[in-house]
């Protein structure tokens, strides 16, 4: 079965991105397909490569990036939500004059539009929402 996942909250503050991560792992463990994970609202903050959680705590960005690499997941950060909250890839950082090296989007994530969320609804068998 083809699953898609929507993550509406940022890391650490709300449990949503933890639950979504565990859920996504379980979807894969059960042999289902994950079409895409879409990060919206504060969820875009999961895709910041600048987070430095305490050493005895989990690292949510890294966990997602690793899972994406291992399973070729499509992790999409909403461009409008990301701009509002200061998550930029290289193109965006340059376009907005934020200076060399300022891009903070983590490996394995890409920035795209809300159409990608609608597509998930259209093309997946199941869409599951995690938020606050």
């Amino acid at each position: 079965m083809k699953f898609s996942i929507l993550v509406n909250e940022g890391p650490y503050t709300h449990q949503a991105s933890d639950t979504a991560l565990q859920f996504t792992r379980a979807v894969l463990a059960k042999g289902h397909e994950v079409m895409r994970v879409f990060f919206y609202h504060d969820g875009v903050n999961v895709g910041s490569r600048l987070t430095v959680p305490p050493q005895d705590d989990r690292n949510l960005q890294k966990s997602w990036s690793d899972l994406a690499e291992e399973h070729k997941l499509d992790l999409v950060v909403c461009i409008a939500a990301a701009q509002r909250r200061g998550i930029l890839d290289e193109g965006e950082a340059k376009r907005h004059g934020k200076g060399e090296g300022a891009a903070n989007l983590a490996p394995g994530f890409r920035i795209s539009g809300l159409g990608q969320l609608i597509e998930m609804g259209i093309e997946s068998d199941r869409l599951v929402v995690f938020g606050d």
């Binding site: 079965m1 639950t19 565990q22 792992r25 379980a26 979807v27 929402v129 938020g131």
Partner: protein, 100 residues
């Protein structure tokens, strides 16, 4: 329809609103702080008890464990599942609705 609820019933009216919109044969899964709703003998437990015949109730076990809520302290008839059970529930129902 599978409904998920992630809020404490003592703090918000989300569980109540969800339950009022459930229909016969629906399933409700309590996750995150929502698992507090599974406790029996509380000011909120009557809401779930009142819908137990028409609706199937589930609790995400890892979330219950984290909050120190054992099976014995839950309202009778609530099923405890893990993340893979969550996936199965989603697969079994055409649509999921998250009550945020």
């Amino acid at each position: 329809m599978l409904h998920t609820v992630n809020k404490s019933p003592f703090q918000t009216t989300t569980l109540q609103s969800c339950l009022r919109h459930t229909r016969k044969g629906d399933a409700v899964l309590l996750i995150e702080d929502g698992v507090l709703g599974a406790l029996k003998g509380t000011d909120a437990s009557g809401d779930i008890w009142g819908r137990r015949v028409e609706v199937a109730f589930y609790v995400l076990g890892p979330d219950a464990d984290a909050r120190g809520i054992t099976k014995e302290r839950m309202i009778d008839g609530i099923n405890v599942i893990d993340y893979e059970g969550f996936v199965d529930l989603v697969a079994q129902h055409k649509t999921s609705q998250a009550w945020l």
